[in-house]
Symmetry: C2
Subunit: 496 residues, 2 copies
């Protein structure tokens, strides 16, 4: 079909424009000077305007629609691509260009306003922007005219086919089993040798240890690099260019080390995607949830395991002989898994983490339906914090202003963090059937883990939907019990 | 005129595409991972192909030609822009797109081949590529069909309106006055306290000193940044984003420090261009020669002056108390101006530097006319080295393979280095009439120098041709005597 060729060429062109926008994003988040952003916003506006025109052009729409009508005649991969293209097209084509441009401009401003509001602990200075963003979200959903519920449209953007119904079932299970369990654990205050958590760890030595971790986890430096930024993130344009960042907290080394292992999980995923998807819509990871499953697998199942520190603690100690004097690998394992009722999501331990997500999910749901307005949001936040973790923020920056997501219009994103973490437990269970993971960690054979994940998950890119992929990998549908059992088992033992 | 609006919009669009290509170049030269280049070449090929199409489109050509016909009715700045646009258009429009794309692909390969040839000291592996590049250059000149001599076409690309006749006169003056003077100086071997030149200087301390220099020279870090790369360079997209790089040579600190001051000269120029040129063809510096005049002014007239080290040597000593034990500011001044017959251009001192350029100019001229072929090139190189500096390279990498320029197709570029250095002396003479420069340096009032240069040179961008600008700044046409006299005076005193 001639249309296939046309489609391929158009996608190729769109991807090349996206490539330059992505590269600009990398620069913006890692080193672009303060005063460069004004002109940059204009430049990005122009190129993304051109990209928007391509993505909504009559020619592109007609070719996608034509292929969609003939989807039964296409091979599986192309059919999958056309399905994804059709979904994006149907959504974006309903948005008037002016509004799209205005929204993107707002996004650029919003982030700065949020940053300032957070620094000043001034929710009211951010509230009107938040209001506008929610308005835009609702309006775009209305343009789209889907039969789905509005919040379901957003959820689907971050995790294909996931709905409130699915998430409610997941979070209800967590609420039922985990909230009381967490409260039990929090009551226990075992005496631990863990003062070293708060020692001072020089950044350059932390960097040495992160470099060591890159080797241990088999990250390919010929196809990526390590850099610093305020918020750690992974970035990629193709499997041959996958970068990640870390921030070195001198007063909290644990945050840097586990963030590095987390990002290495994301980065290993992207380095493992098959290159043949480069110029297709199937490049990059399957979904936010599947992506998070890989980062959490690395961070929690590997990085926070007893086996991991049994073999790698000596190297950490080499980097910090003073700070870790009198500390042994068991102390390290316990300290890396210390449970605390904290206010800040990104500092939360593995056990309390999903409760932070649950809270955000509940609030987003109500913000989008209109059951909650932005004025009442901070108090609603605090109420749920009290309910789930029995702590109360004393400032907006420790509460409702703490995350970047809403200022970036990312409603529907948060739940994928908890979902991905739960996927990781289910994947762990499946992998365990094939080989003894702890033994592989202890033998420093993490390449085995990587090969397994690569074969079953990484290399496939977006070839399968997240639901189909999880089923293929684990042999069953998503089941939160693996996650709940994993947490209960691990933390019962740690706090027995 | 409607055409003016169309022209403005088209230039704006071209500039935004160029912006992303430039940003990609910055990334390529500072941190992009090895394996990312293959896909990058494709991406750059696509976007620069789109840019080429815009630059050669019938619509753009007709609007430029129309405005060129009505140039008398335009204001000075627009007229200048149209003249520049017309010149570029007439040249680029004659090149078949396929050949243009092929040439650009060759450029990407050529650099890597040159790097390898240089590392392997294997001229023959680079020669066929060099041959091809020269062929392309000649062919493009033939397409252009100018009445100018071929090498004059190339010279004009790097320094508007400069011809072989002009350069011959300039280099003849140098040859006559400077070659014998250099030979005299080289005979003298005064006893000097300069062993510290070859001490080991840790990179992180060098970086501290470069940060100090940024403050002294009033570089605005809100509109730029300092980074490391193999070859130092300055990069900019607008006055609000001007970055530069340094390489820290632990075994030769002088190279890092003077390269930093040099790049700060370029960077200060770009930070000073008027923002109203951002979306015009008049943005950025006036020419390669004028640009080099600013970097050389900073590097030589400021950085290698007695006054500069009188005030800043104490800071250098603070960074390197061990290495500089027993060294005083006079030793530093002498060491910073030590004359040596060296083989490598970028390591050459101020006095012998122009002879390295003269040699390249002579050879390029003959390569383009065909009087010299690539086979005979290395020997011709060595012969001139012997004649001008009485030294002979013992390898290709110390001789004909040392510079990146030819592998990048940059024929006609070298002479602007010497020309710009000579401009700097003429500008120095003009500035000296307004205030005592040495005194300003000694008083740490380098802001005065910057303000003077900004007012007369930087802010004007490409508003004037380099010839017109130099005349406006100094009150006379280019005159190499200022340069020759400056060198003779300085080095006679240093080597008396």
């Amino acid at each position: 079909m001639e249309e296939i060729k046309t489609f391929r060429n158009m996608v190729k062109k769109q991807k090349s424009y996206a490539y330059f926008l992505q590269l600009t994003g990398w620069d913006s988040h890692t080193e672009a000077p303060e005063e460069s952003f004004k002109r940059r916003a204009e430049m990005v506006g122009r190129l993304s305007g051109d990209l928007f025109e391509m993505e909504t052009s009559e020619e592109y729409a007609s070719v996608v629609n034509h292929l969609y009508e003939h989807i039964g005649e296409l091979d599986d991969e192309l059919a999958r691509e056309i399905r994804l293209a059709k979904k994006d097209l149907d959504k974006i084509i309903t948005i008037p260009k002016d509004e799209y441009v205005e929204y993107n401009k707002l996004m650029q401003r919003a982030q700065k306003i949020w940053e300032k509001a957070k620094a000043d602990d001034d929710y009211e200075s951010f509230r009107p922007v938040l209001e506008k963003i929610i308005d835009y979200k609702k309006r775009f959903i209305a343009y789209y005219g889907s039969e789905k519920l509005p919040y379901d449209v957003l959820l689907d953007e971050y995790e294909e086919d996931m709905t409130m119904k699915d998430y409610d079932a997941f979070f209800d299970a967590l609420k039922k089993d985990l909230v009381p369990f967490v409260k039990e654990i929090l009551k226990k205050q075992p005496k631990r040798n863990d003062a070293f958590r708060k020692a001072t760890y020089p950044a350059d030595k932390q960097k040495d240890f992160v470099r060591y971790l890159m080797k241990v986890l088999d990250y390919d430096l010929n196809r990526g690099l390590l850099k610093e930024s305020v918020h750690p993130f992974t970035w990629n344009t193709s499997p041959d260019d996958v970068r990640f960042t870390v921030r070195y907290h001198e007063d909290y080394m644990f945050a840097s080390v586990f963030a590095a292992i987390h990002e290495l999980g994301h980065a290993t995923y992207e380095q493992g995607v098959d290159r043949r998807f480069d110029d297709t819509l199937l490049s990059s990871g399957a979904s936010m949830g599947i992506h998070e499953s890989q980062s959490r697998f690395y961070e929690n199942m590997i990085g926070r395991s007893r086996a991991f520190w049994a073999i790698h603690f000596s190297e950490l100690k080499k980097c910090f002989p003073e700070q870790l004097k009198g500390v042994d690998e068991n102390d390290m394992y316990q300290a890396a898994n210390k449970v605390e009722a904290s206010l800040i999501r990104i500092e939360a331990d593995e056990l309390t983490y999903p409760l932070h997500i649950m809270l955000r999910y509940e609030l987003e749901k109500k913000l989008i339906t209109g059951a909650l307005d932005t004025k009442a949001l901070p108090m609603a936040w605090n109420k749920l914090m009290k309910e789930y973790l029995n702590v109360t923020p004393e400032s907006y920056s420790e509460g409702v202003l703490q995350d970047v997501h809403w200022s970036g219009g990312m409603f529907g994103y948060f739940p994928t963090y908890a979902l991905g973490t739960a996927y990781a437990a289910q994947i762990y269970h499946a992998m365990q059937k094939d080989f003894d993971i702890d033994q592989a960690i202890k033998d420093n054979r993490l390449a085995d883990v990587k090969v397994w994940l690569n074969d079953r998950i990484h290399r496939h890119g977006k070839r399968l939907s997240p639901k189909a992929l999880l089923k293929k990998v684990t042999g069953e549908d998503f089941n939160p019990d693996y996650y709940i059992n994993y947490l209960k088992e691990k933390y019962s033992e740690l706090y027995e």
